[in-house]
Symmetry: C2
């Protein structure tokens, strides 16, 4: 990337330090979750806090701030403009929210995470309640400092998905929720519904090591560069992906010895994130164009590999003999059709992270509605458990008996500003729309069936990955598909796939 | 630790940041050597370099420097005095060597390490020569900036072992070298010498996993806290210990499937370092009293566990049935006497890291003599290979055929200032003198035979570990043993042990 503008050059030099320190912080965080001995947590927290402080100071360096805010866009090249746009976006948080509030929020989340964990274990919402109240208040204060037109929740959404608004979310979920609830009801009435399978119901074991080897095999087929990344087993913790450097993108996995589906789906999901990071133009590294466009676009990459590829019938045909080779005793009699049904079982469940493709976005719709109302002071934290139960019944037809399976299940509100959840749904929508476009150029079914996943990756690289943070998400979806985001593509995909599996009319 | 003095308090606050960043750098370094994907090296190097820069700037902060240099010692408590003493010692490097020289040295070592690695592989000293010449020059410049009375090498020795001088080293090696060479000659004439053993000569395999489990068993017996540490397999790289935090002390190991001795000896050696770090008073953490006294004292702890405990006949009696349990097919017929001989084989070898207790210090003597002369400009780098061969013949009776097995074997000169090697020998001497003292209070033989290693650790904790960096090494050895360091104790130990093994007269 050739940058001519003197001010942008200066900005890039300063940003490089922020980027290096950010990667360093990512190493501390990755190691915390993968390797840290039990008693080391407090010391590590102090190291991370100190680094965060240094990074914040770099953002608040008056010279840097002035360059970010005052550099004129006119006459700049597209890449230079994008650099400024991304810095200004990140600056909304760093420049506008007072340092004391950032510190208070950070301290509150640290405590809240511990209390939340306890409260969830004990199923005692009342213990978490005072912390949640304080978090809501701080979310409102943060939104106030960032600024918004009508809805304070917009300020928070924008932190995760630039320019996303509550109105847009309402439109999306307003369309998705009734349709998905309808499909779910049809599925639950179908005669294929909820068939139990001896394969994953507790009798058979699928040793971890073999599962891991199978996952590494699939990673290689996907084109994941294991000389610029790793995959570590962190069972039973929640898997994640970390970029610790341009050529050091690490994914994690957890394996369920009773259910061989989980490890593979996690591997493909996290590798989807990882491939995105591995595919960004090298010259963008350590600049504000590194990493992906937004959380929504990032999630589209993970969900695409997990669902559009991993859960397709064609990929099942490819992977079935591999599964049989790794687990001859358990799976040698099992065909691709059986595995396809098994990987696409729909069941309304209480827990979001275990949800299938049909119900997943209903979980998100619920969280979006609660968050938006909380930030706007329209519902009280005290009433959340009851509202949760009512909405679960309405959307999914099931009512959790405990708060542990209800309002206490997610860590998100204890760790970061609200507004994160909707990006999960955006990811699903972008994935469906990208897939539709890809299918005009590639025979996706054929490639999946032959395990030629590298060709799929090449399309993603050329159309999405290489650009890093050059475009905004609305620009990217238009550039790739010619149209703005349209939730109908996702609904079409779901309808087609699940009508076939469950013989729906 | 209660600190009353306002200036010392202020210093501690500032030092805490240096300490936190130092641990962060240690995490980056540990991960580099244990986990880093191949292509991630360059990115990691940039992260480390940036952090080093920030740490150096903290040291050079004028207010901090002034506090370190100007705070008066009179009226301070012993701990406060020790804090200042340690800071002033570290300050010799940071305050006196100009930043440009530090940067130039750092760049030179980075390049030299790569060239050295290649030169060693190709056995081409000529390729390394120009880099070595530059390194010698920079060592002389650094010594000049630090300052010294008679001998520039003193300035470098002091970096690793405060107050150690070339004169002192000459006294020590002058006593050790002739005696050890004499013992070696006797051993080589003994009829037990160089018996081959089918156990480690290539027929039998000792799987890594079982070796690792056995090592973990021994670590637990030693009292190593695995909730405040880890042991990772980095075969075939060179093992090391890292302190990443007060409760996060990690060791590494390498296993040789053909030779079961290596993994256990490395585990005990590295755990010796690790136990020292785990045993320092908690209140010293993130202060200049954290960590150990000096490299020499540190090495005494690793060598004590490896040699005085691990290679003792009594420990062999304890560990033999454990070895048999882990390797029933290979070792069930093998007695403690056989293992004892096997773990204490003396053979003059070319490679320092493979040397036994008798020959080890002869390798160090040679390096000390070369370093001291190089820094004083008394020998030319060009002549090193030949001098190496002559001295090896004189001290060990063998002549390496290649430079790879000679002057090119160690990485040290490519990575840091000279003066490090003598601390290895100091470690052996301290270990022998500490052991002699310990034996007045504990029945070491009996404890080793019963595997009651925790009692041994308690003695080390009480007498050495807990104090961290409170005393100087000469103070500590006097405090613990009542006498200054005396190499005779080591010679007595070697004479006694090896006379028995090899039936020497």
């Amino acid at each position: 990337m050739k940058v001519k503008n003197r001010k942008v050059k200066n900005l890039l030099e300063k940003y490089r330090q922020i980027s290096l320190l950010g990667k360093t912080e990512a190493v501390l965080g990755w190691d915390l979750r993968v390797n840290l001995p039990k008693k080391g947590v407090e010391g590590r927290a102090a190291q991370i806090a100190h680094l965060t402080k240094i990074i914040t100071e770099k953002w608040l360096d008056p010279e840097f701030k002035k360059l970010v805010e005052d550099t004129k866009l006119s006459g700049l090249k597209p890449e230079e403009k994008a650099i400024l746009r991304n810095l200004r976006h990140a600056g909304k948080f760093y420049f506008k929210v007072p340092k004391e509030i950032i510190v208070e929020f950070s301290e509150t989340t640290t405590r809240a995470t511990v209390v939340w964990d306890e409260a969830r274990k004990k199923d005692k919402f009342s213990e978490f309640l005072p912390h949640l109240k304080k978090l809501i208040k701080l979310n409102q204060i943060i939104a106030g400092h960032i600024g918004y037109r009508d809805n304070p929740y917009d300020a928070l959404l924008d932190l995760y998905e630039p320019d996303l608004t509550a109105i847009e979310c309402k439109k999306i979920f307003g369309k998705l929720q009734p349709e998905l609830t309808k499909i779910l009801k049809k599925i639950m009435k179908s005669k294929n519904y909820s068939e139990k399978s001896y394969l994953v119901e507790g009798e058979l074991d699928y040793p971890k090591d073999a599962q891991e080897q199978l996952c590494f095999f699939v990673l290689r087929r996907m084109g994941y560069d294991l000389e610029a990344g790793r995959m570590d087993d962190i069972s039973p913790s929640h898997p994640f992906t970390s970029e610790l450097g341009r050529f050091d993108v690490r994914i994690t996995n957890r394996y369920n010895v009773k259910d061989f589906r989980e490890g593979l789906m996690v591997a493909m999901h996290e590798a989807g994130h990882g491939l995105y990071e591995q595919g960004v133009k090298e010259e963008y590294s350590a600049t504000p164009l590194e990493g992906g466009v937004s959380l929504g676009i990032h999630e589209s990459q993970s969900r695409f590999w997990e669902n559009q590829v991993g859960r397709s019938f064609e990929f099942m045909k490819f992977i079935t003999p591999i599964f049989q080779a790794f687990f001859p005793g358990q799976l040698s009699e099992v065909g691709a059709e059986t595995l396809f049904s098994l990987f696409n079982q729909v069941r309304p469940s209480f827990i979001r992270t275990e949800a299938d493709e049909v119900t997943y976005n209903l979980h998100i719709a619920l969280r979006f509605e609660l968050e938006e109302k909380m930030v706007n002071g329209k519902i009280k934290a005290t009433d959340l458990p009851e509202i949760w139960r009512v909405k679960m019944k309405r959307y999914l037809g099931v009512t959790p008996k405990t708060d542990r399976e209800g309002v206490l299940q997610d860590v998100h509100w204890s760790t970061a500003p609200m507004g994160y959840f909707p990006t999960y749904t955006l990811g699903n929508l972008y994935a469906a729309q990208f897939t539709r476009e890809m299918q005009k150029e590639l025979n996706l079914e054929d490639l999946a069936e032959r395990g030629e996943l590298g060709t799929i990756l090449s399309w993603l690289r050329a159309n999405i990955h290489q650009h890093g943070g050059l475009y905004r998400s609305d620009e990217l979806i238009k550039k790739v598909t010619g149209k703005p985001l349209n939730p109908q593509h996702f609904l079409d995909y779901i309808n087609k796939k699940y009508s076939k599996i469950y013989n729906l009319k």
